[in-house]
């Protein structure tokens, strides 16, 4: 991954959105921390500025809340890695977070473009 210095157009992540993006990424199946980081980076077309280390406190927090579970597995390259997967509670939480996010985006859009909403 290129350094942050070489990507001045990257966007700082909004507080609280990392958890939602992790849950969203895990919706497609179990993944290890590095894979989650790669998936977020790829789906944002490399636009989001995420320090990969920040994934781990978030993953452990989500696990503590019971929204994800962790399991050690062997990767395709025969390495041991901790894979995370979404729990049923995590799915519900993701749904809640997505609704909240959509409401927030709509509200901000109304503020930024008041004429188009009338």
């Amino acid at each position: 991954m290129a350094s942050k210095e070489s990507k001045p157009d990257r966007i700082e992540l909004l507080q609280g959105t990392l958890d939602m993006m992790i849950l969203r990424t895990l919706q497609w199946g179990p993944q290890h921390g590095h894979g989650i980081g790669q998936a977020i980076r790829a789906s944002s077309l490399d636009a989001l500025q995420i320090e990969h280390g920040s994934l781990y406190p978030a993953l452990h927090r989500l696990r503590k809340q019971g929204w994800i579970e962790a399991e050690w597995k062997i990767t395709e390259n025969k390495q041991r890695a901790r894979y995370y997967r979404l729990t049923e509670r995590g799915r519900k939480q993701l749904s809640t977070e997505e609704s909240r996010w959509n409401r927030m985006v709509e509200a901000i859009a109304r503020v930024m473009k008041p004429a188009s909403s009338s």
Partner: protein
């Protein structure tokens, strides 16, 4: 003042659990950095540059570990347990705790997964090993591994007994 065996019963699961979590977090971060480095090398970077870039992108490893530890629900209790008895027990655990050795004595013996046995962890492992050795494992390598692990158990239990003596001594002294 609680007796030493009560202290062991209270703190030992925390010590073993924390050590396992610490070990797994180290392994997880190491894996992440290695994966990132491999990816960058595949994209044409030199190994040294790739390693530096992987670390730079990850952020401060020590800080990440500190913040991650904050997420473990039992760290509050861990801090509250910051007394001399606890430190002594931790010291005792440094002397050959079988749960920390990582010795694999073969599949098909879930009772040997010491770490998940709270409180009675070492005693149960010790007992299981004795039973397994008594029935005679077929494979010589497995037998050697079991004996090695048994010695670790004995060393650990011995250090716990020593720990008990120190606690008793402290109690009498006060």
């Amino acid at each position: 003042m609680p007796r030493w065996n009560q202290i062991v019963e209270r703190y030992l699961p925390w010590i073993l659990r924390r050590r396992r979590e610490e070990r797994e977090l180290d392994e997880e971060i190491r894996f992440h950095l290695q994966q990132e480095q491999n990816l960058l090398v595949e994209r044409g970077q030199g190994p040294v540059d790739a390693r530096q870039a992987a670390h730079r992108d990850f952020g401060n490893v020590r800080r990440v570990k500190e913040v991650t530890r904050e997420m473990w629900s039992w760290t509050t209790g861990w801090r509250e347990a910051d007394d001399s008895n606890f430190r002594l027990l931790e010291f005792a655990c440094d002397v050959g705790c079988p749960a920390c050795t990582g010795v694999d004595v073969g599949a098909g013996k879930p009772g040997l997964d010491c770490v998940d046995h709270e409180g009675q962890v070492v005693v149960e492992c010790f007992r299981d090993l004795l039973v397994a050795l008594g029935t005679g494992p077929a494979d010589e390598d497995v037998h050697s591994a079991m004996v090695a692990r048994l010695l670790h158990c004995m060393q650990f239990l011995g250090s716990l007994a020593l720990f008990g003596h120190v606690i008793e001594h402290n109690r009498n002294y006060r």
